[in-house]
Amino acid sequence: MEKDETKALRKYVEVSFSNSNTDKMKLIEEIAGVISNWLDNESDAQAIAKGIKEREVLSTTGFGNGFAIPHGKVAGLESPILAIFKLENEVEWDSLDDEAITQLFVILVPVDEAQDTHLTLLSTLSYHLMDEEVQRKINEITENEAMKRFIEMIFKKGR
């Protein structure tokens, strides 16, 4: 049953993303466009950027060691998604440790959250991202498929 759940959570990975923007808000708009394309416009870029920015202004999602976990509720989204980017150009994120970030784990959920199972997976991921051993391993991954497999392994752990 677990396998079906992780398959159903949509995951997109880009381990060498050449970002044109290094300003936080502009970078959010840039990746919103990319995600919208991946989703075939299920939600448009503006709705995605809006969802992420709304959460970001409350408090930074940069939690240290070059990692950030921007997330938000997005109009039009049918089910939660996880989008992972390794940025080639670092971005200042007002992180808790004042360091720039290169690893983005974007979590988007529908406005009406009916899908508990996906939210459970995403909270499990957040829980483990705080671990330095996990961060170290993620830093070493250079291929999209390897990243997806690693994330699926994390989902199988508890919290």
Partner: protein, 103 residues
């Protein structure tokens, strides 16, 4: 030191659980017992019983939003902090609490 805590952030998916992990790691490092209840998008998990609350030396409320069942904490020693403080410096937070409890 025996600690109980509640974490609750706005979206209830990320910071809530990161704060839980940060507090657990810090407590383990400093040799304290800790139980962290999360109030997130999936509801209340690892719920604290009244007796667990009463037996704790301190309650840490790392919250960004209102929390459910706050009555449990009315009569106990507590400290309320922004959730980002727990994520950024859980070690320092616990050290400070230890100091305060000793004075």
């Amino acid at each position: 030191m025996n600690i109980v805590a509640v974490t609750a952030c706005a979206t209830g998916v990320a910071h809530t659980f990161m704060a839980k992990r940060a507090l657990e790691n810090a407590a383990a490092k400093q040799g304290y017992q800790i139980k962290v209840e999360t109030q997130g998008a999936t509801g209340i998990e690892n719920e604290l019983t009244q007796s667990e609350v009463d037996q704790a030396d301190i309650v840490i409320l790392a919250v960004e939003v209102g929390i459910a069942k706050r009555e449990r904490f009315e009569k106990v020693k507590k400290v309320e902090i922004p959730i980002s403080t727990a994520i950024r410096n859980a070690d320092g937070l616990l050290e400070k609490i230890k100091e305060k409890l000793q004075t």
